[in-house]
Symmetry: C2
Subunit: 211 residues, 2 copies
């Protein structure tokens, strides 16, 4: 019984890892769509969210089945409830990638990203993808050591976001308010994507260490 | 046993209702702080988030105790897991009110909200407060009929957000990019606050009707 439980929990963890990978790919493609003003890519990200939602639904059902049929307690109970939260975080990461892709689509055939902040956005996209990968690794290895890298990536995201806002607020900004609105929202989406990846890592680490 | 369970579930629901009320009060005060450039009020909202987090922690513990000690199944199981999600939504609503208050604090003694969009922000604050109240009512009455009002309020929020972005993007916008960045973020915070209130109502209604 106990071993059946852990086998199913392992399957659930694999599903969560897959969701992180999908969210990471989505934010990578969304960033590419944004920087290249690539409509087809943007639409691929938007359509792909349905797959992430489907895996989430499956993961939730697995979690409910585990709770109902195995009635886990203590650490096992917390692991299952934590999995539901992780799935929600990963789905939200996918949703934020869709928001980025939406902006790319809305501005097509133009680009939403003025030259002055291309580098910031490209780097935020790269760090976001890396964070999704880091969350996946921490999850699959159940290893708190990955947390240090996650923290570095999260700090890098904060720094990039700060630089982005500084560039926007600079009196020399010459791309007008409409572009500033897009870039403000983009910055927020990447920042939130990072927050959710960090939150996933936190849940795993709390689960593994109680801290 | 069953009645002890439902008694504790009722206590949990009361805690969730309290969290919605606290989040509603927070967004109301944050909006006032913003419009009046009132630093004391902004700081009250920021400090108050600790209370929402404390109630969330308590609610989570109650939920875990219910799961571990009563091993509920079927509808009862879903009610408890749903409660954990509702508590997270309500805490996030409080967090978004803090973001609004942060902008008020950051711009003090100036106001972050130019005259042209004062009405939009004031109304978004009002609708957000109303949505928190609506989520609380749906939760406490477990009554899907309140959902219609929630949907109307959510539509009103969407419309206000749309108007706000239109005002920002207008070529006649004469408040510069820095103000536009603040207002863009504010719009996003109110919109997300509304999304979470709607999500709470959805969880309750799904719980009550299976749809």
């Amino acid at each position: 019984m106990r071993s059946a439980f852990h086998h199913q929990l392992e399957t659930l963890t694999q599903e969560l890892g897959a969701m992180c990978a999908m969210a990471g790919e989505a934010i990578g493609l969304a960033t590419e769509a944004l920087l290249k003003a690539d409509l087809v890519l943007a639409e691929r990200v938007i359509a792909g969210q349905a797959d992430i939602v489907a895996v989430n639904t499956g993961a939730e059902e697995t979690a409910f089945a585990l709770l109902a049929l195995q009635a886990p307690v203590a650490t096992d109970l917390r692991a299952v409830v934590s999995a539901i939260g992780i799935a929600a975080d990963a789905q939200r990461m996918g949703g934020l990638a869709v928001h980025v892709a939406d902006i790319a689509r809305m501005r097509h055939p133009h680009t939403a990203v003025p030259d002055d902040v291309r580098r910031h956005i490209a780097e935020m996209g790269g760090v976001a993808e890396q964070l999704a990968g880091g969350a996946r690794e921490v999850l699959l290895a159940q290893d708190p050591r990955g947390a240090a890298q996650i923290r570095r990536d999260d700090d890098a995201m904060d720094e990039l976001h700060h630089q982005l806002l500084t560039a926007l607020m600079d009196p020399g900004w010459r791309h007008g308010v409409a572009a500033a609105v897009d870039v403000t929202l983009l910055g927020r989406f990447y920042e939130r994507f990072a927050d959710h990846a960090v939150q996933i890592a936190r849940r795993v680490i709390f689960q593994a260490t109680g801290r």
